[in-house]
């Protein structure tokens, strides 16, 4: 039964800290085999949502399911299929890298030692070094190895690339997460919460933007790129105020205008062509631009 269940299902999740609503009626559905992005500003409720999914925090109300299972009632069954890299990575200071890997391996039935050796080598970690002597980036690398080696069905990453240098970050995203998913594409799911949206651009299949604990936008990445586009037009003379319904004008300076369209590009292009522009171009927005334009329309338009 659980084989066909979505990897993650969240219905009306509410999580309150005192008077603060960290998550306020969030809904989410992540199909198995997808790489799903959870985007939001600081304090939007991303980490709280993830912690509710893993039974690290009890939600005030709402329902969460991982592979159709209740993370509270079926805690071990859920966690056997999940690996998690928290936003603040910490290890026991007396353990070496090797001890730490052994420690986390002991919780798992399956552990890919070949992957472990290869990643330790790739990240240039010294197995005999104590974790207390590792840099922040190295600790994140170690946490990632601990998460990847059990080859879980669901990999939950909370700001996984913070602290990594650009080379390691790119290497990690492309060769580690990408390769991890490619090995069993229909089965392995990744849920990634990050600010560095551009780094994950090519990897994300679907995403949700949350703000103040609520869904603002949920879209398939390809659909989002088709829907959210930037149109740039240059006219022979100042076109004056333009009436372009369903768009947001990014900037209008003299003869040039730049607007963002949301699913109505054909209509807008038609309207602009009617004014005989000297140049007219259209390009898809990146996920980061979609994120910014969704959450900061005023500032983006300024």
């Amino acid at each position: 039964m659980t084989n066909h269940a979505p990897a993650i299902e969240i219905h009306n999740l509410v999580c309150r800290y005192g008077h603060t609503d960290a998550v306020d009626g969030l809904n989410l559905r992540v199909a198995a085999g997808r790489c799903y992005g959870l985007f939001g500003r600081n304090g939007a409720g991303k980490t709280t949502t993830i912690k509710c999914l893993l039974n690290l925090i009890r939600p005030t109300s709402g329902e969460t399911r991982v592979f159709g299972l209740d993370p509270v009632r079926d805690e071990v069954a859920v966690k056997s299929r999940v690996a998690y890299v928290p936003d603040l990575v910490a290890f026991y200071p007396w353990m070496t890298v090797e001890d730490t890997l052994g420690y986390f391996a002991s919780f798992r039935r399956h552990w890919n030692t070949a992957t472990e050796i290869s990643l330790v080598k790739q990240f240039r970690l010294d197995p005999r070094q104590k974790t207390s002597h590792l840099s922040k980036g190295q600790r994140t690398q170690l946490a990632l190895i601990c998460a990847i080696c059990p080859e879980p069905e669901l990999l939950v990453l909370d700001e996984p690339t913070s602290g990594l240098d650009p080379i390691v970050r790119r290497e990690f995203i492309q060769t580690v997460i990408g390769a991890y998913q490619d090995e069993d594409p229909g089965r392995r799911t990744v849920l990634v919460s990050t600010h560095l949206i551009s780094e994950f651009e090519g990897l994300i299949d679907e995403f949700t933007i949350i703000d103040r604990g609520r869904n603002v936008l949920t879209l398939d990445a390809d659909t989002a790129r088709e829907r959210y586009q930037k149109v740039h037009a240059r006219f022979a003379s100042d076109p004056g105020p333009l009436d372009l319904p369903g768009t947001r004008i990014l900037c209008q300076r003299g003869r040039e205008i730049e607007v963002i369209v949301n699913g109505n590009s054909a209509q807008v292009m038609e309207q602009l062509r009617a004014r005989s522009p000297e140049a007219l171009a259209i390009e898809a927005l990146t996920l980061e631009e979609i994120f910014v334009s969704t959450l900061q329309p005023q500032e983006a338009g300024a």
């Binding site: 039974n55 925090i57 999940v82 603040l88 391996a105």
Partner: protein, 497 residues
């Protein structure tokens, strides 16, 4: 990368996390066993109690200390099994400690009926109460302190009830209640264990602030400090770091109020060893305040950016030390004196509220601040303070022994007794000389400890060499102090001849 360990990594991790606390307690008890001097036995027993509570608190508290709770709870392991393993490891350690303590302190606990109770209650508190309080407060140190204070208060209340309801005399009631109380605790343990187990199965890995004492806004709030100088903001922050001190002082006031009522209405209450309780409170509070000062900031992860604020590090340290010493003197000396002035309690007659207590509190706070500057958390600093104290006492004894041996060879047995303070010089009150010398020595040692504490606090370097140099400097100062006191006493004797 082979995985050929004798113990499972999970089990060895639990053992490794608690081993330093167990080791420190065993070392303290063993030292007391070897030297068998009354003050060392007292310190050894105190170390046994603190060690037991620290082991209990750290069994779960280590995950807070090292911030590993999210990683641990996200592993596919049944939480009940994880807690059971923690429980079993701490149980083995606590029972071995209790067995050792039972052997060593058997002579001290004269009343045979009380031996089992006295030996077993730290185990029960460490095993069942400390983890529960640690999870409630999300702090090992708070769990450790509360698991000591709460049963002590309950015991006093039970004692009062025994007299009021059943009219049993206090000393007799104490014996009866100690036995019944132990029995009650043993019966209550499954319930407490169940509560702890339940708490762990529902434990949340959250950074939300734990239940805290709310200090007056003008004293504690960052908003309130905005309009003031950075030093005032620093002082407010330091006071907030020390909020556990306020809690312990509050519990002391409650205990004192119960004693006051007991003294007023129960004729035999005066036999209750209030002086000892007060001394334990003063010393324990001084150690706790020092332990909190530096290590807790390190544990919170705020030390580095705090030091990078545009206020000189020495000023920050002065504020820290000033608040620590101020609170230690206020609550460790001022509060007992004030309460005793308001209504004197019988048991306090045995304790001299003099400058000696003040010097002792200053020295203990400074020592604890120094240990705190080397520790990763308050509970570490607290647990290591007593074994270190015993180590220092043994060192003083050894140096005195060496001084005596040298003087014996050079000037005969009488002068050897005089330089070690065993025999008074012919003219001069040796007590005055020793007290003066001890005060002068303490007042020299305290600044040195605080200076080394400052060096450690502002440096993230934790290599053996500088710590060894510091310890060697402290040892040299102690030796010099002992030799100087001996010299003064010898001089008094020579002059009188």
């Amino acid at each position: 990368m082979t995985r050929t360990a004798v113990l499972s990594p999970v089990l060895s991790k639990e053992i490794r996390a608690l081993l330093p606390f167990w080791g420190a307690s065993v070392a303290a008890i063993a030292a007391a066993l070897v030297w068998r001097e009354s003050h060392l036995l007292d310190l050894g027993f105190f170390a046994y109690v603190v060690g037991s509570l620290a082991i209990g608190a750290q069994s779960v508290g280590q995950e807070y200390t090292y911030r590993t709770l999210p990683m641990l709870l996200s592993q596919p392991a049944d939480r009940r099994r994880v807690y059971l393993l923690k429980f079993l490891v701490s149980a083995v350690m606590l029972l071995t400690l209790a067995a050792l303590a039972g052997t060593v302190f058997a002579d001290v606990w004269r009343q045979e009926s009380a031996r089992f109770s006295v030996a077993i209650w730290p185990v029960l508190c460490g095993l069942f109460l400390a983890p529960l309080f640690t999870m409630i407060c999300r702090s090992s140190l708070a769990g450790m302190i509360l698991s000591a204070c709460v049963p002590a208060l309950i015991w006093m209340v039970t004692l009062a009830i025994a007299w009021f309801w059943f009219g049993i005399e206090t000393d007799r009631a104490a014996n009866i209640i100690l036995g019944r109380w132990t029995l009650g605790m043993i019966l209550l343990c499954p319930l407490l264990g169940l509560l702890g187990w339940r708490r762990f199965t529902e434990l949340e890995a959250t950074e939300v602030a734990s239940p805290a004492l709310h200090l007056p806004r003008w004293l504690s709030s960052a908003d309130g400090a905005r309009g003031y100088s950075p030093l005032r903001a620093l002082a407010a922050k330091e006071v907030h770091l020390q909020q556990l001190t306020f809690g312990v002082a509050g519990l002391y006031i409650i205990g004192w109020a119960i004693s006051l009522l007991g003294q007023r209405y129960i004729p035999s209450w005066s036999t209750f060893p209030l002086g000892v309780v007060m001394l334990l409170y003063c010393m324990g509070l001084a150690i706790m305040i020092g332990a909190l000062a530096s290590a807790e900031e390190r544990q919170h992860g705020t030390l580095d950016w705090q030091l990078l604020q545009p206020t000189p590090a020495w000023q920050q340290w002065m504020v820290k030390v000033g608040v620590a010493l101020g609170l230690a003197l206020l609550f460790g000396v001022g509060l007992p004196i004030l309460l005793n002035q308001v209504t004197p309690l019988e048991g306090f007659r045995t304790i001299r509220m003099s400058g000696d207590l003040t010097v002792l509190i200053v020295l203990l706070t400074a020592s604890s601040v120094y240990i705190s500057s080397l520790s990763s958390s308050g509970v570490w600093a607290m647990a290591w303070s007593l074994p270190v104290g015993i180590g220092v006492a043994l060192f003083i004894q050894t140096v005195s022994g060496a001084l005596r041996w040298v003087t014996l060879k050079l000037a005969g047995p009488l002068m050897a007794d005089i330089v070690t303070g065993a025999v008074a010089p012919s003219s001069a009150d040796p007590a005055d000389v020793i007290i003066f010398a001890a005060r002068a020595f303490s007042l020299t040692l305290a600044p040195l400890l605080l200076w080394f504490g400052f060096v450690n606090h502002t440096s993230s370097e934790r290599t053996v060499r500088p710590i060894f140099q510091q310890i060697a400097s402290i040892a040299v100062l102690i030796m010099t102090g002992i030799i100087l006191v001996g010299g003064v006493l010898a001089f008094c004797e020579v002059r009188s001849r």
